[in-house]
């Protein structure tokens, strides 16, 4: 029972981790909590639903949804956030803007698609592997594999490529990066694109797992993923992964052993306890949270 719930939680946690990286990437570069990221995740899932229904195949569908959602991230930054940066607006202005954007995206999804929960087709085979009294579905295994793969790709981009070096430079000192020939706004766009892509993959995986999709799905998931990012140390990719897994496993445990009423609160209790002991999160660096 316990081990079973750990496995269920890990699969779920991978989903949270993929959403959490979006918070982390954007926070790293802008020192801004992008509260529209939960809505971007829902948008990604809805787009995946839409593109898969066009019957070009599941993979091309998800790829198209990734690009659309990545572009949405860029558009949000260009239209609403970059003008604020240009005017050197206080950070609180950007923060409330992201909350506003979140509502606008969710609202538009409801207007064009409807607010009801709809059935999302499973993306992986429905088989189940049973070892002793633990059963793991193919979906759960694939969720873990795909998430770890994406995490590795993100790590390679950030730590091994030229654009990743530019991302890290902009994160540490955007003014100096600009003086060194880096188009900081381009790097920010790229970061929003990566965040949108990751959120779409998370959206498709989690929707496929629960076989359900709806415009408001990003609200709670977004908050929990944000908690996961802070728990792991915001700005850190391994932190987002670990934070996501902790949130996923604790949610799964709480639902089983404490009852589903506690499902959404245990993760936050853990978050608060960890922050009291480690204010910068598990993998957090002092420098990055100091704004």
């Amino acid at each position: 029972m316990l081990i079973q719930q750990v496995f269920n939680g890990l699969a779920l946690g991978m989903g949270y981790a993929l959403i959490a990286v979006g918070y982390s990437l954007v926070f790293g570069i802008l020192r801004l909590v992008n509260f529209s990221h939960g809505a971007i995740y829902a948008f990604g899932a809805e787009m995946a639903m839409l593109t898969i229904s066009l019957k070009f195949g599941v993979l091309p569908g998800i790829l198209a949804a990734m690009i659309l959602t990545g572009v949405l991230g860029i558009v949000i930054d260009k239209v609403a956030l970059e003008p604020l940066r240009k005017k050197k607006s206080p950070q609180i202005a950007s923060l409330i803007t992201t909350i506003g954007i979140s509502n606008i995206i969710t609202n538009l999804l409801i207007v064009f698609i409807g607010s009801e929960k709809r059935n999302f087709q499973p993306i992986f085979s429905q088989t189940t592997v049973t070892i002793g009294n633990i059963s793991i579905s193919m979906t759960q295994i694939m969720m873990c594999i795909v998430s770890l793969l994406l995490m590795s790709v993100l790590m390679i981009i950030v730590f091994k490529t030229k654009i990743g070096l530019a991302m890290r430079a902009c994160e540490q000192n955007p003014k100096a990066a600009n003086m060194m020939g880096i188009n900081v706004n381009f790097v920010i766009s790229f970061t929003f694109f990566l965040a949108g892509i990751s959120a779409t993959i998370a959206g498709a995986l989690v929707s496929g797992y629960y076989q359900i999709v709806y415009p408001n799905m990003g609200f709670m998931a977004g908050l929990k993923a944000f908690a996961a990012a802070v728990l792991g140390g915001i700005g850190s990719l391994p932190g987002a992964l670990l934070g996501g897994l902790i949130v996923g496993v604790s949610e799964s445990m709480a639902a089983t052993f404490l009852g589903s009423t506690y499902r959404d609160s245990l993760a936050f209790i853990i978050l608060i306890m960890v922050l009291i002991i480690r204010p910068h999160g598990l993998f957090g660096r002092k420098g990055i949270t100091k704004v």
Binding site: L165, A169, A176, M179, G181
Partner: protein, 236 residues
Amino acid sequence: MMLSVRNLNTYYGAIYALKGIDIDVDKGEIVSLIGSNGAGKTTLLNTISGVVKSSKGQVTFKDRDITNISPYQLTKMGVGISPEGREVFPELTVEENLRIGAYIVNDKEKIRSGYDRVYELFPRLKERTKQQAGTLSGGEQQMLAVGRALMSDPEILLLDEPSLGLAPNYVTLIFDMIKEINKQGVTILLIEQNANMALASSDRAYVIENGLVSMSGDAKDIANDPRVKKAYLGLG
């Protein structure tokens, strides 16, 4: 003229920081800007590089108008900047900092020779390639800031107070390196509060006071001017 500044005016909100500045830098020169704290030297450099926008006036580089350019476009034109306060990337290694300096360079061979050039000028950096820049001493960070600016192989180098806060032996070393870099063919615009060293190393100089050029000429003549001696050189 390689770099010309004409009637440059800059405000920070209501603060009138540059009140119509004219300066020229010719190819191959070392030109220094001296002046006391708050005179507007950094504002001038930041306005030239587009970090701060001017309200009036013109900046031209090799006969191209670069007034209020985006800073990131300057490197491509051949301008290297070592900003005030060094501004290295603290959590990147020495090597990564230098790589960022060559961000606009795509030719691997050119990047390689950039590293070689910097490590030859500053052997201390070579011993610390994998060290995080934030853990370097102030003098080493300054070398890194100058080295990073050289990585794009600039025609002109804008240096803002490279000797600020450094131990005397580092001050001498940095000024020697600046002269060496100039000998390699790089034009230099040097902002300094250490007027003694700056004037001794330069061809020409401008004295900036309250957002205006109050004096200009050969560095030797400026150094011998009684007012400069009194105000900036601690003499007389």
